[in-house]
C-alpha cells in the first residue's frame, strides 16, 4: 500500500499555485490530505503531480464583517475552537463533533471537505444550511459559486482542474433561531449513514423559517428544499411535522449499496430529521 510516484510542488503563494494548476496536467491538490492520502496509498488515484497548498497562509484565516469569511485551508480543528464560528455558526461546531477524529481534524481542512464532497460529509451540509458562497480562483480570475450549485454529481464539485477553492463566505442567520444536527454512524467518527442539519425560526409556535440539509442518503449532500417548503409556516406539532415530511422523504432517490440499503437510509433519515427539528426547536425556545 505505497503510493505510486508523482511530482511534488509546494507553492508559496496563491499565484504560484494557480500557475501550477494551469501548467500541470493531471495535478491533484493536496490540502489536509485526510481523504487524498488514503487514496494515494491504496493507489485508487495515481496523479502525475501533487500541488501541496499547505504553504498558502493567506487561505488559513477566519474573519467576520457582515458575513463569516473562512479560508479554504482552515483546519477542522480550528473551526471547532474558533470564537467567530462559535458565535455566528454554532451548528458548524455541532456538526464537527461528527467529523472523523481529533487526529484527522488536526490536518483536515474545510476546503478539502468541500472539494472532496463525500456524500456524507458534514461541512458541506453546514455550508448548505447557510447558502454559503464559494470563491474559486484560477489564472484567469476569480468566480463565486453558490453552494447550491456546487455539487454536480457523486464526489464531483463544480470546479475546474485549473481552479482552487480559496474562500467560503457564510452569512449567519439573524438571531434568535434554533439549530440542530443529527447524524447516525455505527461508530464514533465513521462516515454518516445519514445526517441532517437544521436551522429554524419559531414564532408563536409557527415555524417561520427553516433550512434543512441532508447527507449520506444521496450522491451529493444537499438542501432538502421540498421538505423545507412543507414545513415553513407550519404549526410546530410533532405529529403534524411527522406527517408533512413523509412525501419529501419518499421522493428521495436513496443510495443503495452492498453495505447499506436505500430502505434503511429512508427510515433512518426520517428518524434523524424529526430529531434534528426537535433539537432545533428546543434551542429556538431557549433563546
Amino acid at each position: 500500500m505505497k503510493a505510486s510516484a508523482f511530482t511534488y510542488h509546494k507553492p508559496n503563494s496563491l499565484d504560484e499555485a494557480l500557475g501550477l494548476l494551469e501548467s500541470e496536467e493531471e495535478a491533484k491538490i493536496l490540502a489536509g490530505g485526510q481523504s487524498l492520502m488514503p487514496m494515494l496509498n491504496m493507489r485508487f488515484v495515481q496523479p502525475e503531480t501533487i500541488v501541496d497548498v499547505n504553504g498558502l497562509k493567506e487561505l488559513s484565516t477566519i474573519s467576520f464583517t457582515d458575513r463569516v469569511e473562512v479560508g479554504s485551508l482552515v483546519r477542522q480543528k480550528t473551526l471547532a475552537t474558533d470564537r467567530i464560528i462559535e458565535q455566528h455558526l454554532p451548528v458548524m461546531r455541532e456538526a464537527l463533533k461528527w467529523v472523523g477524529h481529533f487526529q484527522t481534524q488536526s490536518r483536515g481542512t474545510i476546503g478539502g471537505s468541500l472539494c472532496h464532497l463525500d456524500p456524507a460529509s458534514e461541512l458541506p451540509m453546514v455550508a448548505l444550511l447557510y447558502d454559503a458562497e464559494l470563491q474559486v480562483a484560477s489564472k484567469s480570475g476569480e468566480r463565486v459559486i453558490p453552494i447550491q450549485e456546487w455539487g454536480l454529481a457523486y464526489m464531483m464539485p463544480s470546479i475546474g482542474p485549473d481552479e482552487l477553492l480559496t474562500k467560503i463566505f457564510i452569512k449567519p442567520w439573524e438571531k434568535p433561531y434554533g439549530f440542530g444536527f443529527q447524524e447516525f454512524a455505527r461508530r464514533h467518527g465513521d462516515f454518516a449513514i445519514a445526517a441532517v442539519g437544521c436551522l429554524l425560526k419559531l414564532k408563536n409556535g409557527i415555524i417561520t423559517d427553516i433550512a434543512l440539509s441532508i447527507g449520506g442518503v444521496e450522491d451529493v449532500p444537499r438542501r432538502f428544499i421540498e421538505c423545507e417548503e412543507e414545513l415553513r409556516g407550519a404549526n410546530y406539532d410533532i405529529d403534524e411535522i411527522k406527517q408533512r415530511i413523509i412525501t419529501p422523504l419518499d421522493k428521495i432517490n436513496y443510495l443503495d449499496d452492498s453495505l447499506v440499503t436505500g430502505s434503511y437510509r429512508h427510515k433512518l433519515l426520517k428518524g434523524l430529521l424529526v430529531r434534528a427539528i426537535e433539537q432545533a426547536v428546543t434551542r429556538a425556545n431557549s433563546v
Binding site: M1, A3, M42, R43, R186, F191, Y264, K267, G271
Partner: protein, 780 residues
C-alpha cells in the same frame, strides 16, 4: 524475599520496551543489503489465468526478481502448499499453489512475487505484470456451494464438500420420541478476520556460506513454520531457524502456515540477500485466513419443565477457497456441544464447504464461540417457548457441582472423552446475576418500555476446553552470574507469557523477577514447541516452568548440601542463595553453584551430577484437559428509530482455575469480550456476487472502538483443575466465547415487544429496524 509471585498482580516484564517504542516487530527489523517483496494477487474470485508479460516488471529499475509458478526453483519438494493438518476424514483437500499456476480460486490469491530495492518499487512492478484472466463462475455463498448441482469452486473438484463430520452421543431418535415438546431454530453465524494490528510478515535471511536460513515470521507457531518450510524446501529442519520477534497480536490466523513463508525463504536463497515482506492491510483482508459463515439448523427436544433432552441438526461451514488449516475449525465447532448444559442426546453434523472466498481458519475461540452461541440461543429459544425466564432455564440445565468430573459423551479432537474436570456453573450464574442486579434490571426494563425505551439483558454460560497438549517445554538455567534464563517453545503475541513464566520461576527459586530472562519464539533457542493457540500456553508452560524450576531447586539444594556439608533439610533457598537455616552467615550463592556445575577446562562435575549446568528442562503434559467456564451478562439499549445499540454494561464471572496473574487474566477476558462484541455488532466481511470482497478497509470493516465499548466488570471464582499439578486452566479465549451469545440474547430481549427473533449476527442497525418493523428476516 519470599514474596508470593503466583497469583499476584505483577506488572509485565514485556512492557518496558513496548511503551518506549523499543519493541522489535517484524517490519522493524532491518538487515544489511535487504530487499523487499510485494505480491501480485488475483483480482478475480475464480478464473483460469496465464501470465503474459513479466518483462516490463523485471526491467523496472530497482527490481531484483520476479517469481511466478513457472520460475519457482525446481529444488522445491512441491510448488503446492503441503498439508499442515492432514486427516483421513478429509474427502477433498484443496491447497493453493505457492504462486497460482493456471487457476485462481479467490480474490487475493498470490500470482506473482516481485523483489525490489523498496516496497514502493515492488508495488510499481506488480502493476506492470500482465495477467490474462478467463473468468470461471465463482461460488460465493456457502449454501449455494453446498447444493449438489452447484458450480465448482475449483475445476478439479467433484463437488464443493471438503469433508463431513459429526458429533454424536446418546440416542437422539429415542430422546425426540420421548420428549414432551420440541422446537426448531436456524441462524447464521458470521465471524470476521483476526485483524491483529500488526499484519503478517516474513523476513528471510539465507546465509549461503552456512547453508542456513534464518526466517523471521510474525507467527504464533514458529515450530510449525520451521517444519513446513523445511518440508516444502526439502532441507533439514536443523538448517532453518525460525524467529517470531515481537508479534503484534495473533488471534488465530497467524497460527497457520502460509505460502509466503516458503516464498520469501526461496527468494532470499535465490538472491543471496535478505528479503522482507510485510503484509499490508489490504492484503490482510484478502490473504490472511478469516473465519466467516456458518449456517446452523437445530432441533431441540425438551420437557415442559424446561429440561432439554435432545439436540440434533446440521451446520454448513464455509471453508473458503482452500483447506489450509485442515478441519481444525470445523471440528472445534462441534466438539464443545452441548457446552455447560447437561443434555444427554446430541447428534449434529457439519459439512465443510469450499467457496471462492478467502480461506478460513480459527479466529480467537476457534469454533467454540459458535458452539457456545448455538447453545445459548437454544436455551433462550426454549425459555421463550415455555415462558420460563432465561436465567431459570440455565439453572435447570447447567451441569451441577456434584456431577464433576462430568463426561457429556462427546470426544475431544485428540480422541479422548471430553471430561469437564471441575467448576461451579450454577454458582457463577448466581454470582453474575447478582453483579448485574438481574432482577432489578427486569423491573427497570419494564419501566423503560413504558417510556418508549427498549432495554435488554442477555445471558450466556460457557465452557472451554483449554490447555491442550502435547506440551510446551521450558528449560530453566541459572548462569554463573546468578541470573536465570528460561527458554521455551511457547511463543507470545502479547499475552504476557514471559511475565507468568517469570512469576512461576521466581516463586520456585525465590529470586527477583528482574533476574529472569525469558527466551521464546526462537527455534534456535529451544528445540521443540507447539504454538500459542487454544488457551493452552499458560497451562502447558506454567506446569513445565514450575517443574523445571523445582528440579533446578532440587539440584541446587543437593549440590549445596555437599558443599556446605549440611543435610538438605537444614538448607533453604532464598534471595539467590542456598542458606543454612540456623546460620545466615553460611550460604552459597546460586551463581557459585552454577559455576560448580559448569567447570572450566580440566575441571569436573561434582560427584553425583551427570549433567552439566544448574539447569533442568521439563515437558509436562496432560491429556486430561482443564475446562474453564463462565457466565456473562450483557445489558443493552436499542434505539428503535436508528437501529443503534448502546451497550450499557457487561458482566463476567470467569473460572480459569488457579490464577497466575489476575491483571493479565482480566486483560485477556476484557479484550476477548470486546472481540466478541465486535462479532456480534460490527465485524462483517462482505463479498459481492462475483466474489469481490467489499470490506477491505477499516472504514467499511468495522472493528470495535473505545467509544462504543462498555465498562466490563470481571469477577473470578477459582476451582483448581485436578487435571494438572498447579490447578491451572486456560484464559485466552474465555472472554470471546460467550460474548456473542450474551449480546444477541440481550438485543433480542430488548426487542421482546416486537416479538423479534435474531437469526444472524452481526446485527446491523438495518437488521434491527427490520425486526422492529415486524419483518422476521431469515438468515441470509
Amino acid at each position: 524475599m519470599g514474596v508470593r509471585q503466583i497469583g499476584a498482580r505483577v506488572h509485565r516484564v514485556e512492557d518496558e520496551n513496548l511503551i518506549r517504542g523499543e519493541g522489535k516487530y517484524l517490519d522493524d527489523i532491518q538487515l544489511p543489503n535487504m530487499v523487499y517483496a510485494a505480491f501480485l494477487r488475483s483480482s478475480m474470485a475464480h478464473a483460469k489465468i496465464s501470465i503474459t508479460d513479466i518483462e516490463a516488471a523485471q526491467s523496472l529499475p530497482g527490481v531484483k526478481a520476479v517469481f511466478t509458478y513457472d520460475t519457482l526453483p525446481s529444488s522445491l519438494v512441491s510448488k503446492t502448499q503441503l498439508e499442515t493438518y492432514p486427516a483421513p476424514i478429509i474427502k477433498q483437500s484443496m491447497l493453493p499453489d505457492l504462486l497460482a499456476n493456471d487457476e485462481v480460486a479467490h480474490v487475493g490469491q498470490a500470482i506473482a512475487m516481485v523483489i525490489a530495492s523498496s516496497r514502493h518499487i515492488a508495488e510499481d512492478a506488480c502493476e506492470l505484470i500482465q495477467v490474462d484472466y478467463k473468468a470461471l463462475t465463482p461460488v460465493v455463498d456457502v449454501l449455494e456451494a453446498a447444493k449438489p448441482n452447484s458450480q465448482l469452486t475449483h475445476s478439479s473438484l467433484k463437488d464443493n464438500i471438503a469433508a463431513s463430520i459429526e458429533t454424536k452421543f446418546g440416542n437422539v431418535e429415542t430422546a425426540f420420541a420421548e420428549c414432551e415438546d420440541s422446537i426448531e431454530l436456524s441462524f447464521k453465524q458470521h465471524r470476521g478476520g483476526c485483524h491483529s494490528m500488526e499484519c503478517r510478515g516474513v523476513l528471510g535471511d539465507w546465509q549461503q556460506q552456512l547453508g542456513e536460513l534464518t526466517l523471521y515470521s510474525s507467527t504464533q507457531c514458529p515450530y510449525l513454520v520451521r517444519r513446513m518450510v523445511s518440508r516444502q524446501m526439502g532441507c533439514p529442519e536443523s538448517s532453518i531457524r525460525v524467529i517470531a520477534p515481537d508479534v503484534g497480536g495473533g488471534f488465530g490466523p497467524k497460527a497457520g502456515y502460509y505460502p509466503e513463508e516458503t516464498l520469501i525463504a526461496i527468494a532470499s536463497k535465490e538472491l543471496r540477500q535478505p528479503v522482507k515482506w510485510s503484509e499490508d492491510r489490504k492484503e490482510h483482508f484478502t490473504s490472511t485466513n478469516q473465519q466467516r459463515d456458518q449456517f446452523w439448523n437445530l432441533k431441540v427436544g425438551f420437557k415442559n419443565n424446561g429440561e432439554i433432552t435432545a439436540i440434533s441438526g446440521h451446520v454448513s461451514h464455509d471453508s473458503g477457497a482452500f483447506l489450509n488449516y485442515g478441519l481444525l475449525l470445523s471440528a472445534t465447532t462441534l466438539m464443545p456441544l452441548p457446552g455447560p448444559y447437561k443434555i444427554k442426546n446430541v447428534h449434529v453434523t457439519l459439512d465443510a464447504i469450499y467457496t471462492n472466498t478467502v480461506s478460513t481458519s480459527p479466529v480467537r475461540g476457534a469454533g467454540r464461540p459458535n458452539a457456545a452461541y448455538a447453545m445459548d440461543r437454544v436455551i433462550d429459544a426454549v425459555a421463550r417457548h415455555l415462558g420460563i425466564d432465561p436465567a431459570e432455564m440455565r439453572q435447570i440445565n447447567l451441569v451441577k457441582n456434584e456431577d464433576f468430573p462430568y463426561q457429556p459423551g462427546s470426544k475431544h479432537r485428540n480422541g479422548s472423552m471430553m471430561t469437564y474436570d471441575s467448576g461451579d456453573y450454577t454458582g457463577m450464574l448466581a454470582m453474575v446475576k447478582e453483579m448485574a442486579d438481574y432482577d432489578g434490571f427486569r423491573q427497570q426494563q419494564k419501566e423503560a418500555r413504558a417510556n418508549g425505551k427498549y432495554l435488554g439483558i442477555g445471558l450466556a454460560c460457557f465452557i472451554e476446553d483449554t490447555g491442550m497438549g502435547p506440551y510446551e517445554g521450558v528449560n530453566v538455567r541459572i548462569d554463573v552470574t546468578g541470573n536465570v534464563i528460561a527458554s521455551t517453545g511457547a511463543t507470545s503475541q502479547g499475552q504476557g507469557h514471559a511475565t507468568v513464566i517469570s512469576q512461576v520461576i521466581a516463586e520456585n527459586l525465590d529470586i527477583d523477577i528482574s533476574k529472569i530472562r525469558v527466551e521464546a519464539g526462537d527455534t534456535g533457542k529451544f528445540p521443540h514447541g507447539i504454538g500459542a493457540i487454544g488457551s493452552r500456553t499458560g497451562v502447558n508452560v506454567g506446569i513445565s516452568a514450575n517443574d523445571a524450576a523445582s528440579q533446578v531447586k532440587t539440584k541446587a539444594l543437593k549440590l549445596a548440601s555437599i558443599l556446605l556439608e549440611k543435610s538438605e533439610d537444614e538448607l533453604e533457598l532464598s534471595d539467590g542463595a542456598v542458606r543454612v537455616r540456623s546460620d545466615s552467615n553460611q550460604f552459597i550463592t546460586l551463581a557459585d553453584l552454577a559455576l560448580q556445575l559448569s567447570p572450566a577446562v580440566a575441571g569436573k562435575l561434582p560427584k553425583g551430577f551427570e549433567t552439566a549446568g544448574l539447569e533442568a528442562v521439563s515437558y509436562q503434559t496432560t491429556d486430561y484437559m482443564p475446562h474453564s467456564s463462565g457466565a456473562n451478562i450483557a445489558k443493552v439499549e436499542v434505539d428503535v428509530v436508528t437501529g443503534g445499540i448502546k451497550i450499557l454494561d457487561y458482566y463476567v464471572v470467569h473460572d480459569c482455575g488457579r490464577i497466575l496473574n489476575p491483571m493479565i487474566v482480566d486483560g485477556q477476558i476484557i479484550g476477548g469480550v470486546v472481540h466478541g462484541i465486535g462479532n456480534a455488532m460490527f465485524e462483517q466481511m462482505v463479498y459481492d456476487e462475483a466474489g469481490n470482497p467489499m470490506t477491505t478497509n477499516y472504514g467499511d470493516y468495522l472493528l470495535p472502538l473505545a467509544s462504543e465499548m462498555p465498562e466490563i466488570h470481571v469477577a473470578h471464582i477459582e476451582t483448581p483443575s485436578p487435571a494438572n499439578p498447579m490447578g491451572l486452566k486456560g484464559a485466552g479465549e474465555g472472554g470471546t466465547i460467550p460474548a456473542i451469545g450474551a449480546m444477541i440474547n440481550a438485543i433480542e430481549d430488548a426487542l421482546t415487544p416486537f416479538d423479534a427473533y435474531v437469526a444472524q449476527y452481526p446485527v446491523t442497525p438495518e437488521y434491527i429496524l427490520d425486526l422492529v418493523d415486524g419483518k422476521q428476516v431469515a438468515a441470509e
